[in-house]
């Protein structure tokens, strides 16, 4: 019979089972009636005729049974029987089932949760239309210390007009803007975009629309596109928001639309475009006429259909070469344009940590499965008698194999379903634990592909681990054949379990070593001197300043009032807090007259009030810091970092030297300032690397808004917050204060991803150790049971407690030694993949490897403790009597 009708008929039998039973009853009854009627017609008495008929048939139930056999088919029926048998066995051993299901659920849950993140961030395409065609374009200015530099307005037009393989290019630049008028003023992180930016991405608005070219025409009112967060928070999700007027930086502006709630700009991490922008506005309409040197645009291009990345790269590089020739302004250096897939670049920095976590949960799942396999083997051993009986009753190899496979798969199914529930909770916990810097994790969900992947993985393991106990079954068959009491001869299965548990210990060692390396990394990063001291400092920002009290006078007054508070050691203000998300500020500088501007090195700019350097503990190496006298009436002065000093004037004192800078970001360093001081380089962008040279301006000469205000406490910084708020209210009750947090919060934010990775690694290592200790316990406890009699005899012959413990410990030690040695070798191979995440510690750091050993030994000993106590408690008389 061909397969398809067979399946159809089988299915019909399943769903129509009841109908068929009824019909069969009817059919047989009709048969009995007819045969009986015939006998009656021949003169028999009705009831006797019926009895005789039934006797001839030989039992209706047997016939029904046989028909059912025919209907359902032997294989299916036996499978059902096996499933219900397996189900009964699992229910009869709740302890075992609970242990196995919990273990599996943990492994599957962790695996699924992490895979959902990996899937959302690394595998699933960006949430834009046809995202594979989107690329990021930057200028390579490596020689000026800026490998991935932004582009200028005219260059965006150059790309649009000269590149031939692209549908178009869009640009974005992040800044801040004050939203005022309708309620409390607030500063928003704003993305300034070209009008086609959103249509280029293929991202649409939830309410209203995104920008159109008409918004850019002269005379059009200002327009703003809101994020769903601002829309909800500030306008209560007003469905008629589109077309309403708001005030942005004091200018009337029309809300054109609201982006969907989940919308994020997924830009490369060093593009200085935060992915949690709160609103978008259009770039200056005059952008094409901006100076070519004024480079601040992050450019996204959409390749034409079918264009390869390599061809696109050549295309933009050619544009760079062409304009280098066309505009002498670029000088000798010229322009080098580079491009890379937007997706690959957007996840560049989280790829490492994510894949590491994914590897770790993979190992964890393996450990969990080994535990379950080991449990199954132990159970197969304890069911020796049952197996022996089944074998004696003629159960073939295939039948035993199927029985075990079904038990294993049933267990796996229950474990997997529980695991998916655990994964949901796990993902929620993960998202709750994730630092704001990793907010894009929230895109993760337990979706179809995620579930499919997890089930595929777990069922592969399920099949393997259901087969593991068969080794025990073969032994029973053998034992049965040569008639030895299999129950008392626990050899083969135990040997396999020993191998499994050693493997498990080895894998735990790998996770422990990995976690320790990440802990070391975290400690190393914490120990780095970033060049400033955030301790004891509270910071806040103001969304606006009093109308009558603008500019420098306000800053001076605020600084005086705050400094005078009790418990305050000093107050100051500066343009950027370390590691904050305020768009960066910087540009090229020239250290001597007539230097080539096209190859000018780049520096980060910061503006500081007097006293700020001292409050932040930035070390002054030479010269002086800023004073109140560095104001509009004095010549422009700057303080530079030692990195700049060493580059510009190696071996000479920089004090009194002149420096051309570009604080207004015109693209050309034309303003000359005098260096009055040299300070230690501050790692204000990344705690682990020095990024660029640094130039500090006096705030009294160059005020940049919004400022961050810092107040250093003599004691607990949190304690001064109320009096700081009081002081602000005294100055102006309407002052909108925001971002009130200790300065250390910014530092923690910068380390958050690293801390998160480390915490997860430690959690996984602890789970691995727990599972491994359960595994060790299982094997040792079982071997103690097997050697019950031996211990009894030894006790009877006068063996002391120490000797018995030594016997048990020897088993444990053998397991541990093998596992640890194999694990250290494995770790040496695997931690190589971690090298990108490590800081200040080698993947083969001997001390770290060595410190993993005692951890495992302690866990191993704890696992041996209970079995050892049981061994000690063996009563010699009982042990012998049980013979």
């Amino acid at each position: 019979m061909p397969l398809v009708p067979k399946i159809v008929s089988f299915w019909r039998t399943l769903v129509r089972g009841r109908t068929i039973e009824v019909e069969l009853d009817d059919e047989l009854r009709s048969y009995v009636e007819e045969v009986t009627a015939r006998k009656v017609a021949l003169g028999a008495e009705p009831s006797a005729a019926r009895r005789q008929t039934l006797m001839e048939i030989g039992g209706l139930d047997r016939i029904k049974e046989e028909v059912r056999d025919v209907r359902i088919g032997r294989l299916a029926e036996e499978t059902f029987r096996d499933i219900s048998y397996a189900w009964r066995m699992l229910r009869k051993a709740p302890g075992f089932t609970l242990a196995a299901v919990t273990t599996l659920a943990l492994g599957v849950g962790a695996n699924t949760a992490i895979f959902s993140v990996v899937h959302a961030l690394l595998i699933a395409p960006l949430p834009y239309a046809d995202p594979a065609r989107l690329v990021f374009v930057w200028a390579d200015q490596s020689s000026e210390g800026y490998p991935r530099a932004p582009l200028s307005g005219p260059e965006l037009i150059d790309l649009d007009t000269r590149a031939s393989l692209f549908d178009g290019f869009g640009a974005i630049w992040a800044t801040t803007a004050a939203l005022t008028g309708d309620s409390e003023p607030e500063q928003l992180r704003i993305g300034l975009v070209s009008s086609d930016f959103f249509s280029l991405l293929g991202a649409n608005a939830e309410v209203g629309r995104t920008f159109v070219a008409a918004d850019e025409t002269s005379g059009a009112p200002g327009s703003i596109l809101l994020s769903a967060a601002v829309w909800q928070r500030r306008y209560g999700g007003d469905p008629a928001i589109a077309g309403k007027r708001v005030l942005v930086n004091g200018r009337p502006t029309t809300v054109v639309g609201v982006m969907p709630a989940g919308f994020r700009l997924l830009m490369p991490p060093d593009a200085a475009v935060p992915d949690d922008l709160e609103a978008w506005q259009l770039l200056d309409r005059a952008l094409p006429e901006f100076p070519r040197g004024q480079r601040f645009l992050r450019v996204v291009g959409r390749m034409r259909n079918g264009v390869s990345l390599a061809d696109a790269q050549q295309d933009v590089a050619r544009v760079g070469t062409e304009i280098s020739k066309a505009y002498p302004h670029y000088g000798a250096a010229g322009r080098k344009f580079e491009t890379v897939s937007l997706h690959a670049d957007a996840v560049r920095e989280i790829r490492g940590p994510l894949l590491t976590m994914f590897g770790a949960v993979g190992i964890l799942l393996l450990i969990a499965c080994v535990n379950v396999a080991s449990l199954l083997i132990a159970r197969a051993a304890s069911r020796t008698r049952e197996t022996a009986v089944r074998v004696a009753l003629g159960a073939g190899n295939g039948r035993l194999f199927r029985q075990h496979l079904i038990e294993g798969l049933l267990l796996t199914t229950v474990g997997a379903i529980t695991g998916l529930v655990v994964a949901r909770w796990g993902l929620d916990a993960l998202l709750a634990l994730a630092p704001p810097a990793l907010s894009r994790l929230s895109a993760a969900e337990i979706s179809g592909p995620v579930i499919a992947f997890s089930l595929a993985v777990v069922f592969t393991w399920g099949v393997l681990l259901s087969v593991a106990p068969l080794s025990e079954v073969w032994r029973v068959r053998l034992a049965n054949a040569i008639r030895i009491d299999a129950a008392r001869n626990g050899g083969g299965g135990q040997r396999l379990r020993t191998v499994l548990i050693s493997t498990q210990i080895a894998m735990s060692v790998i996770l422990v070593v990995g976690a320790l390396l990440l802990v070391r990394t975290f400690m190393n990063v914490q120990a780095i001197d970033p060049g400033f001291n955030a301790g004891g400092i509270y910071s806040f920002r103001l969304a606006s300043r009093p109308a009558k009290d603008r500019g420098l006078a306000f800053g001076r007054r605020l600084q005086e009032e705050l400094s005078a508070l009790t418990g305050v050691a000093g107050a100051a203000s500066l343009s950027h807090a370390p590691y904050d998300h305020v768009p960066n500020w910087g540009g090229p500088y020239l250290s001597r007259k007539g230097a080539e501007p096209s190859t000018a090195p780049q520096a980060d700019y910061r503006s500081l009030s007097p006293g700020a350097l001292e409050l932040l503990g930035i070390r002054l190496i030479d010269g002086r810091s800023f004073t109140e006298d560095d104001d509009d009436n004095a010549r422009l002065v700057v303080v530079v970092d030692n990195r700049l000093a060493a580059r510009a004037w190696p071996g000479e004192s920089p004090i009194g030297r002149r420096l051309a800078v570009d604080p207004f970001v015109t693209g050309e360093p034309k303003i000359w300032a005098t260096v009055v001081g040299v300070v230690q380089h501050v790692r204000h962008r990344s705690p682990v690397e020095e990024v660029r040279d640094q130039i500090y301006f006096p705030q009294r000469q160059l005020l940049r808004n919004p400022s961050v205000y810092i107040v250093k406490a003599t004691g607990d910084p949190a304690a001064i917050v109320p009096s700081v708020r009081d002081a602000l209210t005294r100055i102006d009750p309407a002052l909108p204060i925001y971002d009130v947090r200790p300065l250390t919060a910014y530092v923690e934010g910068a380390n958050a991803t690293r801390a998160f990775t480390m915490q997860l690694a430690v959690i996984f290592a602890l789970v691995a150790l727990t599972l491994a200790s359960v595994g060790i316990y299982g094997v040792i406890a079982y071997s103690v049971t097997l050697r019950h009699r031996e211990f009894g005899v030894r006790r009877a012959l006068g063996a002391g407690a120490a000797q018995v413990i030594a016997l048990v410990a020897r088993d444990g030690a053998r397991l541990l030694t093998r596992g640890i040695v194999a694990g250290l070798v494995g770790a040496a191979l695997v931690t190589w993949f971690l090298r990108g995440l490590l800081f200040g510690v080698s993947p083969w750091d001997l001390a770290t490897y060595a410190s993993a050993i005692p951890v495992l030994i302690v866990v191993g000993l704890i696992a041996c403790l209970l079995p050892a106590r049981r061994a000690l408690a063996t009563n010699p008389v009982d042990a012998l009597r049980s013979e």
């Binding site: 059919e27 047989l28 009709s30 048969y31 028909v67 209907r71």
Partner: protein
């Protein structure tokens, strides 16, 4: 009337198909017909008849339908399906081959 004989294993299906070749019949009808044609040699018992019927139906060679007799009794009558007709032809040929082969063996010296 001939001595009742055990039906050869595997031939009951063939006999049932043959019985249904001309017209649909129900269980008792099929058993009667086989007994009648073989002059009582084969007496088909319910215990082998019904499993065989359901196997043939399962395999798609016959199809059962409920109907009511003139006496008002509900019966399940089976008819040959096109697949069953082909199967009957194939099995007939097979049977002929077996008979001639067995005959050759028996008649050889």
């Amino acid at each position: 009337m001939a001595q009742p004989t055990e039906i050869l294993k595997g031939t009951l299906g063939l006999l049932i198909l043959r019985t249904l070749e001309l017209e649909p019949r129900h269980g008792v009808g099929i058993a009667d017909r086989i007994e009648q044609i073989t002059r009582g040699t084969f007496n088909v018992k319910a215990g082998s008849l019904f499993p065989a019927l359901h196997r043939l139906e399962q395999e798609g060679f016959i199809a059962g339908e409920w109907s009511v007799t003139e006496a008002g009794r509900r019966i399940r009558a089976y008819r040959l399906t096109p697949a069953g007709r082909q199967q009957l032809i194939a099995e007939k040929k097979q049977w002929a081959r077996i008979v001639s082969a067995v005959g050759l063996v028996l008649e050889s010296d």
